[in-house]
Every structure is written in structure tokens, then in C-alpha cells.
């Protein structure tokens, strides 16, 4: 018995050493999910409070008619920043942050597969968010509304505010996409053995759906941002009517992102509800498959409703009918989810608790937001209330009921998990009732002021239109709401400072994040359990005891490395023992360098931006070189329970390949946004290409395509040759591929260059050039990757057996080849067919 005890202690010591959080100022070099996720969550919450203060400023201004507390200009900055911060710096990041924090433990993984990517994303988020928020202290905040409609923002606001918005938020969107890739791969590949995909916690399902939505919704916005910034900085006329552009192109690209965005924010909050409801109903959620279907359905439908933000732009009746239909249809999966929760409580045994109080409040508020949502989905009603205070009321009912209240409940629920202490029940109830009452007092009257004709985004209003009392009530409500948040914050500070350590699994939940002891050591998971149920803590009798004695997988860190399991996407059979990298400063410099590109570009300091970009790139390469595709000291190891797993996997078996694949899907979505622009212009113009403008012709583009396809084929050949051990073949094929890629890129640019196509002349020329630039940018990245593989092979870090790098680069080149084919077909082929 005592030897068992000694073995156990030895294991725990080695695990603790491998996963130790750095001390002192090095603490900030940590990359583990428990640190990065926590910082990420706190920072997102601070941005939320900042945007809340902006909201209070607006309510102060609108408390009485004809007020002049804020100038028109400042008010416009305040409302623009309030919306932008809430959406981009709180709504999306809070869930990525929260998921980075809890997802690994929920899946009994020690960490997500790419800890340094999480860290890079977090530091990018911090830098970009501070830049965007800080602008208001210099009176330089964006003031075009969170939707930034041109031509107001392209031709009539020539200060840097718009650029702060475009570039600062593009940077953050990249961080959001990085986190989405990380979470998708984490959920698909890092589940514990036995947790088949139909046994995942619903939280994981929701996050999977949402991360996939981010992957397809954010890139079109980034494409839009690119067009926008090209117009502002270099006068490429994408939205300028005089030169064949169209402001509605931006509206389409913005809302193709903007509507899914609402569900991207809302679904994870429902995920929290789906996590808390079973715990407090003391039974599994009723209708697991219904909920999964509904979540996936919502995700799909949400991409088909963007036009309902554009009902008043003068669309034909057929479009109004189609998008009205799609918009009301999305209420159905939402209804199914709500009824599943109610049914669970009905058949279960409801336990009163503060988290459930917040969930109940969320239901009352959200259902009302949903009902007004159905109203505004109907085009005739929307004609009246669009851009009125009715919409302000509607969207806040949706987002406060569908996000803020569940998040506050979730903070109560997960506080013992994160901080090892339980928040106060009494203060929780006080804060709930203040928030709930204050919210309704603030926002319910807005329905009426909107119906009485009060437009949105007005910095003041005259007295006597029936808006005065309603606005005063709204402002009083906002103060009460703020008081509720104050109590909430006091509770947090008080608990962290004086609270006592909570018992293990304080809510008697059934999911695995509650398996570890409280407080949980830095290793995250003592041993990776074998899962046989959706609620293992309820159904698997000995799981806690076996866990505590390290009786499952990976109970030890024999080599002192950070290790976690990779399992099959569907059946979660163990595939690989993945080693993940530890603390580093490389990601910080990489994030700062990347941030510099966006921040310096805002001020048009191009040389600084380029220099900063090179620094960022250098550090990204250093991080990849030292931290990824490391050849292990032995091919495989015993992971416990009689299972031996490889320490290295490449191709579709490796997490890196999945990450590349998923990232490139997002990249294709951005590219589609640009191609959409080309065909959008074609549909609105009678002559496109316009008469008198000579396009790139077909000879140069076709030559370019031939060269690029050859480069792609040679890259593929290099991968195969390397795998078969033909080192010489590899070293011939890859440099040749690089030479052909350079020639192809030059040929692609030669077409429009030699026909003298000037991108500032009209929207056609600008669109052709933007496709060429986009493709060539991807070729440049492809060249860098090919060079990286040659260097890796030269120093023996890439061998016939250990060949992750060339697999991923070949995969990248598949997508680069598709980009080249579509670009050439569009710029050279389409004018011939048309």
C-alpha cells in the first residue's frame, strides 16, 4: 500500500514540475489554458465594463430633452464605441476566453492542442482592444456607428477614427479566428477516450458550432475591411458611386458577418444554460439530440438572414419575402432549445440557486427579445421600427437576456472552478434583482419611444413628442442596472479576498470539469479518464477514486514533458500522446509585431508597419521552429491502462494538419467575400467590365495559372518523395516549386500591369487588382512555407518519418491552388464568357 502511495506521490511531483506555472514576473510568460483563459476572461470583462460606462454616458445625455452634456461629436464616438466594444471586445471574446479556460477540463484534457496560439491570441486581443478603446481619450474614436456605412466613413470622415475601427478590429478578428481554430481542433481531437461525439457535453457542441460560424462569418468582414481600407488609404473605389463602386457592397459584407455574429454571441450563452440547467434539475438534459440539431440548424439559418438588416434599402418584394421567411424560421430551433430546458426542469427536481435565478431572468428577458425579433423579421413592421428605439430595445432584450444574464449566472456557477471559492448567495440575489429591474426599467420604455417615432443614434431630441418621460425612466433604469453590476463586482472582490475554499464539486454537477480537487493543481487533469456517459460524475461510480489515485491514462510525466491525449474525431479512440509547449515570451513579441502592422498602418506609417510586421513574422517563425513538430526521443510511449501511443503523428492524424485545414476554410471564406464583390458589381452594372477599360487579358493570367499549378504539383511531389525517402528528389522539387511560384506570381501581376489597369479608376480595375494582390499574398506565404520546409529538412528537423511540416505546407498549397484557379477564372475567364 505504501509503495502505491509512493508511486502516486512521485507521479504527482513529476506532473506538478512539468506543468508548473512560472513565478514572479515570468508568470506572464505562461501559456497554459488556466492562465491565458483567465486573463482573457478578465480583460474581456473589463472591456464590457468600459462599454457599460459609455452606455451610462449616453443615458446621461438622453435623460432630458435638448441636453448638452455631451457634444454631438463626442456622443457619436461614444455610441459607436459602445456597440463596437460590446460586439468585438466582449460578446465574441468572452466566450472564446471562457471556453479556453474551461473546455480542456470539461474534456478532461490537460490543455488545448496549441497553447501558444491561445497566448498569441490573448496578447493580440489585449493590444488591439486597448488601442481601440484608448482612442476615445484622444477624441479620436471611430464615430461612424458600429456598422461603419460608407460613404459617410469613406468620404466624409477623414480622421483616423475609421482606421482605428477597421485596423484595430481586423486585428482582433484575427485573434478571434485563431481562438476558433484552437477550440475546434480541441473539441474534435482532444476529448478523453470513450467520449464519442454524441457523448460530448452540450457546451462543447455549442462551442463547436459557434467556432465554425466564426470561421465563416468573420472572414467576409475581414475581406470587407480590406476593401474599405484600400479605398481609404489608396483611393481604390469599391464604395464610391462616381467610379462604379456601391455602398451596398459593404452592407452585404458587413451583415453576412453581422447577423451570424448575433448567434455567435448568443449560442455560447445558451451553452452555459445547457450546462447549468441539468445540474440544478438534478438530471440529464431532456432532448440532447434535439438541442444539437437545433444548434446546428441555428448556425446554418443564421447565414441566410443578413438581408433583414437591409429591408429599407429598396429591395424587390421577392427578396423581402425570402429573407422574412428565413428570419422567422430561425425562431423555431430557438424555441426547441427553450422547451428542452423547460422540459428538463419539469421532469427533474428543481434546486434553487443563484445561477438558476440568473437563468430564469434570462428566460423572461430573452423570450421577449425573441418575440420582438419575430416582429421585426416581418418586413412591413420593420419598415416602421427599423433604426428606431424599438430596435434598441429589441437587441438589448436579446443580448442581455441571451448573453449578459447567462454569463453572470455562469460566473456564479464557475467561480469555484476558477477561483476555488463560492460567491455569496445573498449578494448574488441582490445583484440579480438590481440588474433585472434596472434592465427592464431602462429598456422596456424604449419599445414605446421607438413606436412613438424616436430614431436611433440621436445625440439629443426635442421635448414634447412623448419621449421625455420614457427617456428619463430609461436613464434611471440604467443607473439601477449599473448599481447591480457594482454589487456583483463587490461580491467578486470580497470573495477573492476573504472567501473560504469551496468543497469539491460544490453544485453536484455531472460533467467532468468538476472532477478535479478544489483548488486544482496546475496540471489541470490528474489523469485522463475513460468516459462512458454524458454525465460521468453521476453515472460512473468509481470515477473520483480512480481519478485521485491516477488510475486512468497519462497519470505521470516520466520525461518531464507536458502531455495530453489526442483521440479520434468521431469515436474518441486514443491516437497519440501529444506534447504541448510550455511558457515562452516569443508569442508576446509576435503579437506585438503583428499589432504594430495594424496600429502603424492606422497612422499611415508604412515603413514602421513593415518593420513591425517583419519582427512579428520572425518571432512567429522562431516560435514554430522551436515549439512545433519536435522530433521525440522515442517513437511511442505507454500511456497507461495497457495502451501504447505514438508521440508524433503527421498528416490527417495530426492536430496541426487539422488546424491548417480549418484555418484555410476560413481563408476561403474571406476570398469568397472578395469574389462576391466582383460578381456583385457585375450584377449591378450593365457593362462590367466597363467599356473602355481593358482588363488583364487572358494570356498572362493563363500562363500564371499554368506555372502556379506546376508549383503546386511539385510541392505535392516533394511531400511524396520525402515520405518515400527520396531526399534528393525532395531537395530538387521544392526549390523548383518555389521558382515556379515566383514566376507565376509575377505573371499574374503582369496581366493588369501591362494593360495599364489603374486600380483608382473604377471599381472593376480595383476588384481585379485586389484579387491579384490577395492571390499573390498567399503565394508569398506559400513560398515562405516552402523555404521553411527546406530549412527544416536541411537541419534534420524534417525527415521521411517526421514530416508534419511538409504535410501541412502541401495542404496549404491545395488551397493556394484553388485561390489561383478562381482568381484566373474570374479576372481572365469571366470577361470572355460574358
Amino acid at each position: 500500500m505504501s509503495t502505491d502511495e509512493e508511486i502516486r506521490r512521485g507521479q504527482e511531483e513529476r506532473l506538478a514540475a512539468a506543468w508548473a506555472t512560472p513565478k514572479g514576473w515570468r508568470y506572464w510568460s505562461a501559456v497554459n489554458n488556466s492562465e491565458v483563459g483567465l486573463w482573457y476572461t478578465i480583460v474581456a470583462f473589463v472591456f464590457f465594463l468600459f462599454a457599460g460606462v459609455l452606455a451610462l454616458m449616453m443615458r446621461a445625455q438622453l435623460a432630458v430633452p435638448d441636453n448638452d452634456l455631451l457634444s454631438a461629436d463626442l456622443y457619436n464616438q461614444v455610441f459607436t464605441l459602445h456597440g463596437s466594444v460590446m460586439m468585438f471586445l466582449f460578446g465574441v471574446p468572452i466566450f472564446e476566453a471562457f471556453s479556453i479556460l474551461i473546455m480542456p477540463q470539461m474534456l478532461a484534457a490537460r490543455d488545448l492542442p496549441f497553447p501558444r496560439l491561445s497566448a498569441y491570441g490573448f496578447w493580440s486581443f489585449l493590444i488591439g482592444g486597448t488601442f481601440v478603446c484608448g482612442s476615445i481619450f484622444f477624441g479620436a474614436a471611430p464615430k461612424g456607428g458600429w456598422f461603419m456605412y460608407p460613404p459617410l466613413t469613406t468620404e466624409y470622415q477623414d480622421d483616423i477614427g475609421v482606421d482605428v475601427w477597421l485596423l484595430g478590429l481586423s486585428f482582433i478578428e484575427l485573434a478571434s479566428i485563431a481562438a476558433a481554430v484552437e477550440l475546434i481542433v480541441g473539441i474534435l481531437k482532444c476529448r478523453p477516450p470513450g467520449m464519442r461525439i454524441n457523448m460530448m457535453p452540450l457546451y462543447a457542441w455549442y462551442i463547436l458550432v459557434v467556432a465554425a460560424m466564426i470561421l465563416f462569418a468573420f472572414p467576409p468582414l475581414i475581406a470587407g475591411d480590406l476593401l474599405f481600407e484600400m479605398e481609404r488609404a489608396f483611393d481604390w473605389p469599391f464604395f464610391d458611386v462616381e467610379r462604379g463602386g456601391d455602398p451596398l457592397l459593404w452592407q452585404h459584407l458587413f451583415w453576412i458577418f453581422g447577423h451570424p455574429e448575433v448567434y455567435i454571441i448568443f449560442l455560447p450563452a445558451i451553452a452555459l444554460v445547457a450546462t447549468m440547467v441539468p445540474t440544478f434539475a438534478r438530471r440529464p438534459l431532456v432532448g440532447y439530440s434535439w438541442i444539437v440539431l437545433a444548434a446546428v440548424g441555428t448556425g446554418f439559418i443564421s447565414f441566410g438572414l443578413w438581408v433583414h438588416h437591409m429591408y429599407t434599402t429598396g429591395l424587390p418584394a421577392i427578396s423581402l419575402g425570402f429573407f422574412s421567411g428565413a428570419s422567422v424560421a430561425v425562431a423555431i430551433p430557438t424555441g426547441v432549445q427553450i422547451f428542452c430546458f423547460i422540459a428538463t426542469v419539469l421532469v427533474g427536481r428543481a434546486v434553487a440557486s443563484v445561477p438558476m435565478l440568473f437563468v430564469s431572468g434570462a428566460l423572461a428577458v430573452f423570450v421577449m427579445g425573441g418575440l420582438t425579433g419575430v416582429m421585426v423579421a416581418l418586413a412591413p413592421f420593420d419598415f416602421q421600427v427599423h433604426d428606431s428605439y424599438f430596435i434598441v430595445a429589441h437587441l438589448h432584450y436579446v443580448l442581455v437576456g441571451g448573453v449578459v444574464l447567462p454569463v453572470l449566472g455562469g460566473i456564479h456557477y464557475f467561480f469555484p472552478f476558477v477561483a476555488s471559492k463560492k460567491l455569496s448567495d445573498s449578494l448574488g440575489r441582490v445583484s440579480f434583482w438590481l440588474v433585472f429591474a434596472g434592465f427592464n426599467l431602462a429598456f422596456f420604455p424604449m419599445h414605446i419611444s421607438g413606436l412613438r417615432g424616436m430614431p436611433r443614434r440621436v445625440f439629443t431630441y426635442p421635448e414634447g413628442y412623448g419621449w421625455d418621460v420614457l427617456n428619463l425612466l430609461s436613464s434611471i433604469g440604467a443607473l439601477i442596472l449599473a448599481a447591480g453590476f457594482l454589487v456583483f463586482l463587490v461580491d467578486i472582490v470580497k470573495t477573492v479576498a476573504f472567501g473560504s475554499i469551496s468543497e469539491r464539486n460544490p453544485w453536484q454537477a455531472g460533467t467532468m470539469e468538476w472532477l478535479p480537487t478544489i483548488p486544482n493543481p496546475a496540471w489541470g487533469v490528474r489523469t485522463v479518464p475513460l468516459v462512458e456517459s454524458r454525465y460521468p460524475l453521476w453515472d460512473q461510480k468509481d470515477i473520483v477514486a480512480t481519478y485521485d489515485r491516477g488510475g486512468f491514462f497519462l497519470p505521470d510525466a516520466e520525461e518531464g514533458k507536458r502531455e495530453t491525449l489526442v483521440t479520434g474525431t468521431i469515436d474518441a479512440e486514443p491516437l497519440q500522446c501529444l506534447r504541448v509547449p510550455g511558457p515562452t515570451w516569443l508569442t508576446h513579441v509576435a503579437a506585438a509585431g503583428t499589432g504594430g502592422v495594424f496600429i502603424f498602418s492606422t497612422f499611415h506609417w508604412w515603413w514602421m508597419a513593415i518593420a513591425s510586421g517583419l519582427v512579428g513574422l520572425g518571432f512567429v517563425l522562431a516560435w514554430l521552429w522551436t515549439g512545433t513538430a519536435t522530433i521525440p526521443e522515442k517513437p511511442e510511449k505507454d500511456v497507461g491502462l495497457g495502451v501504447t501511443l505514438p508521440l508524433y503523428a503527421s498528416g490527417p492524424k495530426s492536430v496541426g494538419w487539422w488546424a491548417m485545414f480549418i484555418t484555410m476554410l476560413g481563408d476561403m471564406a474571406a476570398f469568397s467575400g472578395l469574389v462576391f464583390g466582383y460578381y456583385f458589381f457585375w450584377t449591378i452594372h450593365e457593362n462590367f467590365p466597363p467599356e473602355g477599360t481593358v482588363g488583364p487579358g487572358w494570356r498572362w493570367p493563363v500562363l500564371a495559372l499554368a506555372l502556379l499549378l506546376a508549383a503546386w504539383a511539385l510541392t505535392l511531389a516533394a511531400r511524396i518523395l520525402n515520405g518515400r525517402g527520396h531526399r534528393t528528389g525532395f531537395f530538387v522539387a521544392l526549390p523548383l516549386a518555389m521558382a515556379l511560384a515566383v514566376a507565376g506570381a509575377l505573371a499574374l501581376a503582369a496581366g493588369p500591369w501591362f494593360t495599364g489597369l489603374d486600380p483608382t479608376v473604377n471599381s472593376y480595375a480595383a476588384t481585379v487588382w485586389v484579387l491579384v494582390v490577395w492571390t499573390n499574398f498567399h503565394l508569398a506565404a506559400g513560398l515562405l512555407m516552402q523555404g521553411y520546409c527546406i530549412a527544416r529538412a536541411a537541419v534534420g528537423k524534417l525527415t521521411p518519418t517526421y514530416d508534419i511540416d511538409i504535410h501541412n505546407v502541401a495542404l496549404y498549397w491545395h488551397f493556394a491552388a484553388v485561390t489561383a484557379v478562381v482568381t484566373v477564372a474570374t479576372i481572365a475567364g469571366f470577361p470572355l464568357v460574358d
Binding site: D73, P151, V286, A350, D387, G453
Partner: protein, 352 residues
Amino acid sequence: MGKGGRTRRERSGANSALGIRPGRRRIRPGPALPVPALLLSGCQGRQSVLDPAGRSAEAIADLWWVLLAGAAVVWLAVIGLAVYAVFARPNSHDLGKTRILIIGGGAVVPSVVLAALLVWSLHILPVVHPPVPEGGMKVRVSGERWWWRVTYLTEDGREIPLANEVRLPVGRATAFDLVSPDVIHSFWIPSLAGKVDMIPGRVNRMVLEPTREGVFRGACAEYCGTSHALMNFEAVSMAPADFAAWLERQAAPAEPPEGPVEARGLELFLGYGCGACHTIRGTDATGGLGPDLTHVGSRLSLGAGILPNDPEAFANWLAATHVIKPDVNMPHFGMLPEAEIEAIALYLDGLT
């Protein structure tokens, strides 16, 4: 390019800009102007979706009341069910029945209700957004930062320019062409119909048919820059005969100044170059950048629906344009002697 980019910290007076130099002005009251002041104060319902006065707005208001009743029923049902679920005895309901609840309550009932609503809303679309009638008078409204350029295109081919005010014959469908030369605006008279955006490069059409006489207020509904909140207008529906008389009056050139002060006002107006941007038909002022002022004194409000129409408001506007409407294109004339401002104000006020 534009001037929207400047960062300003001036306190905006907005509608309370009256009385910048209170008590020091001696202006005799203009002829017959009791209406505007009255309208600008006690005007609850002039801009309300719930108090419709047009065919389109009435159809939408009917839809709203049904939606409201339905939403109240659904909300009470869902919340009632949730409350019942919390307090119901554990294990008193079996799992099979809850499936019926989920499918019925979550999918079947909503599908039926939503389909019915969708059909109804599409059915009323031709009333809400009627097809544009062939021939007849047409009104072209151009949203510009931050005012409305209004042109009546009569059946006999005349173009009658005015600004910041729209008048319509009651009981008749009038077609509108909605355009913008600068940024996106949105034309909205809640009492008559929903809004339609004014988008550069496009001509959006709408039809308004007032069902009763009245004075309503319109607003720009699409955020259009610094003074978006200050871009409003008056919309009047009149008996067809009154309307015709009004339109003829608007078509006529301005009458010569009434007295010596007004004559001095016109002289100053032309002397300071106001005519470079404004037209007063019948005088040498022929500028086209700003609003046509030929009958500005006859309008119900000034500055795009933000000031009453009286000499004092004119004077204030001239002296502090940039304070009353931040970032406006018109320069202010606060540097002029007070007497000159008063003379111009009196002249303009007399342009009925």
C-alpha cells in the same frame, strides 16, 4: 474631403439655441405665425407609428396590435410553463410527454403561427409599399447633410424647389423619388409610412397616401454623421384644393421686400454672398448648394425641423449656425453687426 472629420468640443445648443442674446433684440412680430411655435411644443403623436394617418402606416399599425397581443400571450404561456416546471412535484411528469411538449411547443405551434404571420405580412406588402402610379405629380427628395432638398415635379413638367417640408393632398397617392448626393440617409414620416433609405447612386421609390389632414413630423432614420439628430422636417397633409393653392404659391417667385428694413435685409443678403449657396427666385440669389429660400418664411420650421419659424430663430441661426447644428456646411455670420443680422432675419421671415 468632407468636413465631418474635425473633432469638436463645442457644446451644441440644438433646439434650445434660442435666446443666445436674449432680450436685446427688438424685432416686430412677423405676419401671422402662430402655428409653428404651437406645433413645436405640444406635438405628441405627430411622429408616432401608433397614431397613423396614412394608408401604409394604418396597415402596419393594425399588424402591430395583433403582433403585440400574440406576443403577450406567447410570453405569458412560456413563462407560466417555466414557473410551473420549477414548482411541479418531481417525477410527476414522464419523459414521453415532455417530448410532445418540445416538439409541439418548440416546433409545431411556432411553425404554424410564424407561417400565418409571414403570409399576412407579405399579403399586406402591396398596401404598405404600393406600386408607383403612372403619371401624376411626383416629389423628389434628396437627403443632404443635414437637410432635405425637396422638388415637386408637376404633371405639366414644372420643377418647384423647396426644402425641409413636404406637403401632400389627402386621399391621393403621391410618388416619391428618394436620392442622396452625399451619404446614406433614410426618409421617414412615421405617421404616414415606414422609412426608405436614400442611397448615393440609387433612386429609391415610395408612395405616400395620407388618410387625414394634419401636420406631421419626419426624421432622418439612418445615421448620417455629426448632426444626424438635427435632420428633421415637417410633413403636412392638406385638402386637395388647399394643396393646389399652396403649390402654386410655392411655384411663384418671391415678392419684393415689404419695408425699408426688409429691403436692407435683401441688400445685405446679396452683399454678403448668401446667394452663392441659396436661391431666392425673383432676386439675384441663384446658388444651389443650400436650401431654396424663396418662400422660407412660409414654412413651419427652420433648420430642418429644429427651430420655430420666427425672426428671432432666423437671427440665432445666422449668428450661431455652427453651434445650433455642429459641422453644418453653412458658415455662421456671428461677426456681423446685430442690426444687420436682424435686417436679414426680418427679410427672410417675410418671404412667405
